[in-house]
């Protein structure tokens, strides 16, 4: 693990290197940090195994009653000396008047030990005489220090301390539990490598404009640390599939057309030779729109010819009122056929992608609304084999290399085929787009003379295969968890 340190950590390590074995308070003072900064920094460093924190007991010494009194009045031996300075030679008896009896012996003994006095005997009487040197004793010095509470360990003259301790009520000793902080061997190593300057946390505009940056260095950061997650915004995965399909169509020379989602039944059904009593036209399958109508949905010529085609082919009375009913389109074919009927091009390669609707109960397999793509090729000489070839090319570009064709039935194409593609992931053949050549009953009434190849199918199915979904609803529930995580290019 690389040891990239925060400036607080730097200061702590630097301080501990200079003064090991100190408390939080001492550390804060020495490192010029607040106690909170120290606590935080120590936590980080402990985690990085750079410091040791030892709980231990510390002793303090301070003055007790008699000690305090001595500071004011002086120690008994000092008071004796002060008396002697006025009476340089005197007897024990006269000296006793100056000092309490209880203190007298100690005063005599200590003053003699300090070398301040000399005692001589003359005629059964002890004579005290003052000597020249009466400088402060080590006890006196200690007393003045102990006016403030002092760490025992910091007291240098231990003899003086012991001596004072022997005197009654002079010294109080107190113990405090405390944490003592020290660098570990790893910490010491880090400290020795540490450059004097921690460096700047951030490069600022100010540093750059003033040129201050030239004198500064940037602090290293933990480049291996985890960064917070951000989510790259994206287009919807289903839209990505739609766009991929559009790109492929364009690359195959197709032009995209756009049409309304609401359509008259005429274009959705009648123009596609779906008889008016066909089950697909029932409300159980198709969404009809309430209280809506359409006035100019087709030309009188188109209406007359479509009507005739139905009556001839299906033997029933075709009703314009039925053709006028507005539906949500059930396929995109209504858009392509209308385009062909209106433009009547000699040659055409067009495609359309968009929503289609089915009145179904929503389930993991079915949606009421989904996307369909449809491609159409028209030309004098286009054939069923061309239709198959275009399919194969389309799938190839989608990455689906194995394709086969089966016959099927669609009401408005003849011949009709369905394509099966081999899915590697599922290891099976999957039904994809349906295709066929528009029936003459569809094209003739609309004045379309060339054969029209058409194919199409649902996009969701492709998207589900691509994103390995088993429930089609997942494509539409806009779960951010999914949108933020699903790969753009799976």
């Amino acid at each position: 693990m690389s040891q990239v340190l925060h400036p607080i950590e730097h200061k702590i390590i630097k301080t501990l290197k200079q003064t090991p074995n100190i408390t939080h308070e001492e550390l804060a003072k020495n490192a010029q940090l607040t106690i909170d900064q120290v606590r935080r920094g120590l936590e980080w460093l402990k985690y990085k195994n750079l410091i040791d924190v030892n709980e231990s007991e510390v002793f303090f010494a301070r003055l007790d009653k008699n000690g305090k009194e001595s500071v004011e009045k002086g120690l008994p031996e000092r008071r004796l000396v002060n008396y002697l300075s006025k009476h340089p030679v005197c007897t024990f008896e006269s000296a006793r008047t100056a000092i309490l009896e209880s203190e007298f012996n100690a005063a005599i003994s200590n003053a003699r030990q300090n070398g301040w006095i000399e005692i001589t005997k003359s005629q059964n009487t002890n004579i005290i005489s003052l000597k020249d040197d009466t400088t402060k004793s080590s006890e006196e010095e200690l007393l003045s220090i102990l006016v403030n509470k002092t760490l025992v360990s910091e007291i240098k003259n231990k003899t003086a301390l012991e001596s004072l301790k022997k005197r009654p009520d002079f010294i109080l000793l107190e113990s405090i539990k405390t944490s003592i902080i020290n660098l570990t061997s790893e910490g010491l190593e880090t400290a020795s490598k540490q450059s004097e300057s921690v460096g700047e946390r951030k490069l600022t505009t100010e540093m750059l404009t003033t040129g201050k940056w030239k004198e500064l260095s940037l602090a290293p950061i933990d480049v291996e640390a985890a960064a917070p997650e951000v989510f790259a915004a994206r287009s919807h995965p289903l839209q990505d599939v739609i766009n991929e399909v559009r790109e492929i169509f364009v690359s195959l020379g197709f032009t995209e057309i756009y049409g309304n989602l609401t359509q008259s039944s005429f274009w959705n059904f009648d123009a596609l030779f779906t008889p008016q009593d066909h089950p697909a036209r029932e409300m159980q399958d198709t969404f009809y729109l309430k209280d809506t109508s359409t006035s100019k949905f087709a030309t009188p010529g188109q209406i007359a010819k479509v009507s005739e085609s139905h009556e001839k082919g299906w033997h029933y009375d075709w009703k314009i009122s039925e053709a006028k009913r507005m539906v949500l389109r059930t396929h995109t074919t209504c858009v392509t056929i209308r385009h062909l009927a209106e433009k009547n091009p000699d040659e055409a390669r067009i495609f359309s992608v968009g929503r289609v609707f089915r009145n179904e109960k929503v389930s993991y397999k079915h949606l009421v609304e989904f996307n369909q793509v449809e491609g159409v090729v028209s030309g004098k000489n286009v054939t069923l084999r061309d239709l198959m070839g275009l399919q194969r090319e389309f799938y190839y570009k989608m990455g689906l290399k194995k394709v086969k064709f089966w016959p099927t039935f669609f009401p408005y194409t003849e011949p009709s085929l369905q394509s099966m593609v081999y899915n590697e992931k599922l290891d099976k053949w999957v039904e994809l787009f349906g295709m066929g050549i528009f029936r003459p009953e569809v094209t003739r009434p609309l004045g379309i003379t060339n054969p029209v190849l058409a194919w199409g199918g649902g996009i969701e199915r492709i998207a589900m295969l691509k994103f390995a979904l088993s429930d089609v609803r997942e494509l539409y529930n806009n779960k951010l968890g999914w949108l933020r995580s699903v790969p753009k290019c799976p």
Partner: protein, 546 residues
């Protein structure tokens, strides 16, 4: 799509030649059947309703025999002259004007044959029969019937013992108290006269299209059958009769004619029809160069008769092939007989380059800009719930557009704006990290004097603790400036979905094109959201495309 169950042992017997199971399975798709389910002894296949002759295993076997070249050409329907007759009373004209019929004799029924026949009857009722409205079929034990029969009408008080019942019921009771009565009674609408088939002994044989009489119930012991088909369309009735007759003939019955007369009814003629097919049309459509004799043999494999005549093929199409309208249908029969797997795909050369539509292209650009601004694209439905679109969002529902009879509760009306759906989307993501920024483009619907108008909108929402009106306004300005060089301004307005004093119209080129604001706390609370939301919605149609 209707489904037929095929038992392998029965298939083997009917095919008349030992064919391996794998071979059968591999060839079924090439006569247009999708295998739905497969077990050890049987498979279920889906057939398309335009091939009612595939509604039994007899019909499917006939198709397989063609492709396997066991039997080719058109199966002949042999109808012997029968001594049976039905007289039609003109009173049926207003309620169910047509009846047609054959008699099938000397057959052997077993459980599976009966099951196949009943399944066929149901499929024909639901498909061509349009849930019995157009056509319904009655199959009876011939030996219980005294000819001639009468197809006439009676009052609703008429009584007989209906199928599966042990006691007499009146027609009123049948319509009211039986499943079939309530299900199909509406076909007879409000007519007081009820159609009925009665024999010369006065026994009720059938009450079409509702139910047969109990008297003529068929069983394994039944040897001879009467088929009667009533209809509102004579052609369709005869098409259905052809399918049934052909199936019964395949099941081993001999078919006899029934003489029908009265009220524009007549004895059915189930003859094949002659059609001419142009060899050039076949080759031009399929992209092949087939000789007339290959075309003929292909058609025969599709169980049609065909003879070359110069550059034309004269085809004979059996009556039961109701799906064959014209030449193109015959071209498909050639393709199927030739074998779809034998068609090698080709690629036509493109004359010109393709291009995207200008609307979708503009939407692509818009999407890229929104994504660049940190917004995720959402895709919601156009068909939405009233609750989200209007109630929870406090929007005006007076011009609501409804879809009739939706099967899904959440999809009943067309959206007239995108924002409600986006707020709903936020409500489904309350456990995801904020900020949440979402946009959507799509069609919205409106109505003017009953005509529907479709327009494309862009909407976005931004949700997190520090979101503000000005943040989304910045997005709005940026989108239109970067995307289309358009300058937007905002003008104070009031809409219940937004907070008062924090709602504005979006104005571009002096036209109000949308709305922007902070979503009202009440609306946020309605969606059980606990986060501030700002957003906007802009009408793109008329602004960046027409």
């Amino acid at each position: 799509m209707p489904v037929v169950t095929l038992y392998f042992n029965r298939l083997q017997k009917l095919l008349g030649k030992r064919i391996s199971q794998e071979k059968i399975l591999s060839i079924l798709p090439f006569i247009g059947l999708d295998i739905e389910e497969q077990t050890k002894d049987h498979i279920s296949v889906e057939y398309s309703p335009n091939r009612p002759d595939y509604s039994t295993d007899y019909g499917i076997v006939s198709g397989l025999q063609g492709l396997l070249a066991i039997k080719t050409g058109m199966p002949k329907l042999k109808i012997k002259k029968g001594n049976y007759s039905i007289k039609v009373n003109p009173s049926v004209k207003k309620v169910r004007p047509f009846i047609t019929s054959v008699v099938a004799k000397n057959g052997k029924l077993n459980d599976e044959t009966i099951r196949q026949i009943i399944a066929m009857q149901e499929d024909l009722h639901n498909g061509i029969g349009r849930r019995r409205k157009k056509t319904s079929i009655g199959i009876h034990d011939l030996d219980k019937i005294k000819f001639p029969l009468s197809y006439t009408t009676v009052s609703k008080d008429h009584r007989f013992i209906p199928l599966t019942s042990s006691s007499e019921m009146s027609i009123s009771e049948i319509l009211k108290n039986t499943d079939v009565g309530t299900k199909y009674g509406n076909i007879l609408e409000d007519s007081q006269k009820m159609p009925i088939v009665i024999d010369s002994g006065g026994n009720t044989i059938s009450f079409p299209p509702i139910i047969n009489s109990n008297l003529t119930t068929i069983s394994k012991d039944t040897k001879n059958l009467l088929v009667e088909i009533t209809s509102i369309d004579k052609n369709v009735a005869e098409d259905v009769l052809a399918v049934v007759s052909y199936t019964l003939q395949n099941a081993g019955f001999t078919i006899f004619s029934t003489n029908i007369s009265g009220a524009n009814n007549s004895t059915p003629i189930l003859n094949p029809r002659k059609m001419t097919l142009d060899v050039d049309l076949v080759n031009k459509t399929l992209g092949l160069d087939l000789s007339p004799s290959i075309i003929v043999s292909s058609l025969r494999k599709s169980r049609l008769d065909a003879k070359p005549k110069g550059n034309k093929i004269i085809c004979e199409v059996p009556k039961y092939r109701t799906d064959i309208f014209g030449s193109m249908d015959l071209v498909e029969e050639v393709a199927l007989g030739y074998g779809i797997q034998n068609l090698e795909p080709t690629i036509p050369q493109s004359q010109s380059g393709g291009e995207k539509n200008k609307i979708t292209k503009a939407l692509d650009s818009l999407s890229a800009i929104m994504v660049g601004l940190g917004y995720f694209e959402a895709i919601n439905f156009g068909l939405v719930s009233k609750e989200v679109q209007y109630d929870l969002t406090k929007r005006d529902s007076s011009k609501m557009i409804s879809a009739a009879d939706s099967k899904s509760q959440g999809h009943t009306i067309l959206r007239d704006g995108i924002l409600p759906g986006l707020i709903d989307t936020l409500s489904k993501n309350i456990h995801e990290t904020y900020p949440q920024k979402i946009f959507e483009t799509g069609v919205v619907f409106s109505k003017a004097s009953n005509e529907i108008k479709e327009e494309i909108h862009l909407a976005c929402v931004c949700a997190y603790n520090d979101v503000s009106f000005s943040e989304v306004k910045s997005v709005l300005q940026s989108v239109f400036k970067v995307g289309f060089g358009l300058h937007c301004t905002t003008q104070m307005t009031y809409l219940p979905m937004f907070s008062e004093g924090r709602t504005a119209n979006i104005v571009i080129n002096n036209k109000t094109v949308g709305v922007i604001g902070d979503i009202s706390p009440e609306v946020i609370d309605n969606f059980k959201l606990r986060i501030p939301i700002s957003g906007f919605e802009v009408k793109l149609t008329g602004l960046i495309f027409d």
